[in-house]
Symmetry: C3
Subunit: 138 residues, 3 copies
């Protein structure tokens, strides 16, 4: 059994999806392991992970806009507002998506479908440096 683990910084520029597939693939490649699973973990509660179509950017924009409509910033019910109007919606959007993903790999390559990419989803308005932990289990 081997465990290989790296903490990757991810720069976000504004709210929205940032593809990290290549970064995760490089950790798998560096492990020199053939078969196993790689886990990705998001160390934050105002951004999250999702696996999404990575071909047509319009699909990602529609997904982002749909979630913005579902969880609007100006909800008068919110009481947790001291960190900004985008903070509570960010926590809710995180809870509705994922903090961890577990992706299998074989022959050193992730078994993602043709159109799948791994994304960090920034839910705050401002740019952040985020951290994801990538662990290769074989």
């Amino acid at each position: 059994m081997a465990v290989q683990q790296e903490i990757l910084p991810i720069q976000t520029r504004r709210s929205g999806l940032v593809e990290i597939t290549a970064e995760v693939a490089r950790v798998v490649a560096r492990s020199r392991q053939s078969r196993g699973v790689v886990t990705v973990f998001c160390r934050h509660t105002s951004c999250s992970l999702v696996i999404m179509e990575n071909a047509d950017p319009s699909a990602r924009r529609d997904l982002e806009a749909w979630l913005d409509r579902l969880v609007p910033e100006d909800d008068p019910h919110f009481t947790h507002t001291t960190e900004g109007a985008d903070d509570m919606p960010a926590h809710i959007k995180m809870a509705l998506t994922r903090s961890s993903e577990t992706v299998p790999f074989a022959e050193g390559r992730m078994l993602l479908g043709t159109w799948q990419g791994i994304f960090l989803w920034e839910h705050r308005d401002a740019a952040h440096v985020r951290e994801v932990v990538v662990t290769v289990l074989t």
Copy 2:
């Protein structure tokens, strides 16, 4: 440490939940391992995974219908519409549920609760052959 991995084809007939608990259990049984976790990964962005009650079909139908109401096909905000009216809702429903599940097992049997089943959730209207990757980690 042992890693055993199979890619399973899953036939869907229309949108909705398809139980795959028995297929996953067979991979665990074929591994001949006693204790560990089994990961299930969905290789698509217009279907997803969920663990749901597998006793009363009315619970599944209500879940499907609720999500259909939350993410209707005729949303005028959608721009990603070239692959059909059901395509963008399918991506959103996928993002709101799961691409991967990780289920523990002991004595060769998954430690699911009494009423839990593992389901592939087809979000497109038409039948598809989908693929899930099942990996046994021990």
Copy 3:
């Protein structure tokens, strides 16, 4: 390779988030392993898991209240109502959050972010004893 597994009972008192970070951390500590991942699995379909901010209780209350508004109990479309008005909303809330979480650890400590806690989310109105399975993979 080592697999260590414990089934933990979790007492809930009413609907809402119950932090279980310390319970999971103790399983990691008892394993005496340095580096790996710990998986947490919820054995129920009317409660779920989420990783959420554990500092300010107002963030958790706003999250709970938001999801209660998204999935109200009195939805006239529900047919699965024999187990109570809170049962079908509980299944939907579970499906929108998580049944399993996978958290990396190093030097015997989970690599959670500063503000992250692991929570069991009770979606039924009444108190329950729930079970989560914690598996340490190294």
